[in-house]
């Protein structure tokens, strides 16, 4: 693409903006390689001896060796990272499949209840996670349970151990269920605008060839809305990966996710800046990678989401 020659002031502005956007992240990156004394003591700038000690402390439970500087491994970062991955990936996948099917139905079919469904989807988009906190906490802990003497509950207890009734709270599935439900309205909303653009004639042609509705959907429609799927996937993943509040209410010691670990680690007795920055950096890496490699899809997704009211 040809670029116009512009006033150098614009370039200065561009550089300043880039600096502002990336500066804090860069600062965190740099600090994650400093010892606490260096961070607090003010050896500012880049003149310091970089150390990977913070990362060793953070990842101590999955390292193959035992770092000298820690007596015992208190941060179970590795485990939390795996939990985060499981929860974010599965919930993203489910949201996409379910969301796309619903979006397809809303765009392509006229059926009874369509308007209600469409309106409800739009409305629940605004529900903040904080509003869900109380009911989800109550339901997942007390109502959505299987009796431990029951057939399935008993089987789960025998197989996986644990005590008490089998409840959704404290399981990966419990958190995934909330995330899928929370992200569905957004995904349905955003995908509708992509599905509308798929030419009907292609679908008709496939149908004439004898394909059933599901075949038409999976073989014809899905491949054509790949960019939309990518955008939706990134946004869903982002929320599931970053969410703190609901996960903290629903997880137990085995299903903790990384954001919970970071907030927990900012405990009042001992703010270990270096380690916190290292964990923050590790949490930020997947979104950063997405952004660098798929910024076009993200921007398309954002625009599609906003333009369609």
């Amino acid at each position: 693409m040809e670029h116009d020659r512009q006033n150098p002031a614009f370039y200065a502005l561009l550089v300043a903006l880039i600096f502002m956007a990336v500066g804090p992240i860069f600062l965190m990156f740099v600090n994650s390689f400093k010892l606490d004394v260096d961070i607090i003591g003010g050896t500012s700038g880049l003149l310091f001896l970089p150390t990977i000690q913070n990362y060793e402390t953070a990842l101590c439970d999955i390292l193959w060796y035992e770092p000298d500087h820690i007596d015992f491994c208190s941060l179970k970062f590795g485990g939390a990272f795996i939990n985060s991955l499981i929860i974010a990936l599965i919930s993203t996948f489910l949201t996409l499949v379910i969301g796309c099917m619903a979006a397809y139905a809303l765009v392509r079919f006229r059926f009874m209840g369509r308007d209600t469904a469409s309106l409800t989807t739009l409305m629940v988009r605004m529900v903040p996670p904080a509003v869900l906190l109380v009911p989800v906490f109550g339901l997942w802990n007390n109502e959505f349970c299987l009796d431990r003497d029951g057939l399935i509950g008993g089987w789960i207890r025998d197989t996986f151990g644990g005590r008490g009734d089998v409840c959704l709270a404290g399981t990966h599935s419990g958190i995934i269920l909330v995330y899928v439900a929370m992200n569905l309205p957004f995904v349905i909303w955003i995908l509708q605008s992509f599905i509308v653009q798929v030419p009907r004639s292609l679908e008709e042609a496939a149908r004439v060839d004898g394909a059933g509705p599901f075949q038409v959907f999976f073989r014809v429609v899905l491949p054509l809305i790949k960019p939309g799927l990518a955008a939706a996937a990134i946004f869903t993943f982002r929320i599931a990966w970053n969410e703190y509040l609901l996960a903290s209410a629903l997880s137990d010691r085995n299903t903790k996710t990384v954001p919970i670990l970071i907030v927990n680690n900012m405990s009042e007795f001992n703010v270990e800046w270096g380690v916190i920055m290292a964990t923050g950096m590790l949490l930020a890496i997947p979104p950063i990678i997405f952004t660098l490699f798929a910024s076009r899809q993200i921007i398309t997704g954002m625009t599609a989401g906003a333009v369609k009211g």
Partner: protein, 303 residues
């Protein structure tokens, strides 16, 4: 099964999973919350053991100065943030709507702040605002100025700045996209008529972008009510109640004060407020779309 019934059932089959999940994990909990908001409910009780107290929770909240304060903090926060972000974001978009080398790099890097976990954003800013260790005060002092008590006396402002950092790019990118999809003919016509840069912006670009901008602003406004983690990590709502937005108060009431009924009532107040904004968004969209269409027609006819 003949193909007629097949077609009738198809949409329901496509909708079913989404409907079931949303009903179980979104709509039912919301109903449960409304039900719970009329009860005196402790986290260790299951809801059947709780006592019905009518509108007591709502009335207590209505007269509770702490809740009112956090409501006003929320409103101040949300509106300031949206207005500032709109002004800066749209301003930058108008300024940078030209063919400059490096634009795509800017757009890519600009998205970073909003992709990163709010928890991480909070901790980065908490570090930068730190009274002695933080970047800002260190820089200020090295330049010979007094340090600023960021998270103490200016906590709300500091939180607002962090949010502006994180979300202005959102507005910028949407505004830029809107600008670039404006009908070239209208701009061309204005230029031939001798309109200055400012006149083009005020009479042509802004009115044509308006539908997108209003939806964007309302989207941001609704999202601004969801902000919680950034503030939680930065200030935990303090000092005093100066940054305790409603979302944070709900979570504190539920976990720290252990009053689930009150927290549910609080959630309901917030939900009603947001419902109002969402409805406003629909109304505005319809209105503005009609008006913009009329305007575009006019511009075309005149040109």
């Amino acid at each position: 099964m003949n193909s007629q019934t097949f077609n009738k059932l198809t949409p329901y089959m496509f909708m079913a999973p989404a409907v079931i999940i949303m009903a179980i994990a979104l709509l039912y909990p919301l109903g449960y919350m409304v039900y719970g908001s009329f009860r005196d409910w402790d986290p260790s009780q299951s809801i059947s053991e709780t006592e019905f107290v009518g509108f007591k929770n709502y009335i207590t909240l209505f007269f509770d100065p702490a809740f009112r304060e956090s409501l006003s903090v929320t409103l101040i926060f949300a509106f300031t943030v949206v207005i500032a972000e709109m002004v800066i974001g749209v301003g930058l978009a108008l300024l940078l709507d030209r063919n400059i080398r490096g634009m795509s790099v800017l757009r890519t890097l600009f998205i970073l702040p909003m992709m990163i976990a709010p928890v991480v954003v909070g901790l980065m800013w908490r570090y930068m605002y730190h009274p002695t260790v933080g970047t800002f005060n260190r820089t200020l002092k090295s330049w010979g100025f007094e340090g600023v008590d960021w998270l103490g006396q200016h906590a709300l402002l500091s939180v607002i700045i962090a949010d502006i950092w994180q979300w202005t790019p959102f507005i910028f990118i949407l505004a830029l996209a809107a600008l670039q999809s404006l009908p070239r003919s209208a701009l061309e016509a204005a230029r031939i008529d001798g309109a200055t840069g400012w006149q083009q912006i005020i009479y042509i670009k802004l009115p044509l972008m308006m539908p997108v901008l209003i939806v964007t602003a309302l989207l941001r406004l609704i999202d601004a009510f969801k902000v919680l983690e950034v503030i939680l990590v930065m200030t935990e709502g303090g000092p005093g109640l100066s940054t305790e937005i409603v979302a944070l108060r709900i979570s504190r009431t539920a976990t720290e004060f252990r009053e689930l009924g009150t927290a549910a009532a609080m959630s309901n107040y917030l939900l009603i407020l947001l419902l109002f904004f969402t409805l406003a968004m629909f109304a505005f969209t319809r209105l503005q779309e009609a008006r913009a269409a009329r305007l575009a027609r006019q511009v075309q006819e005149e040109g």
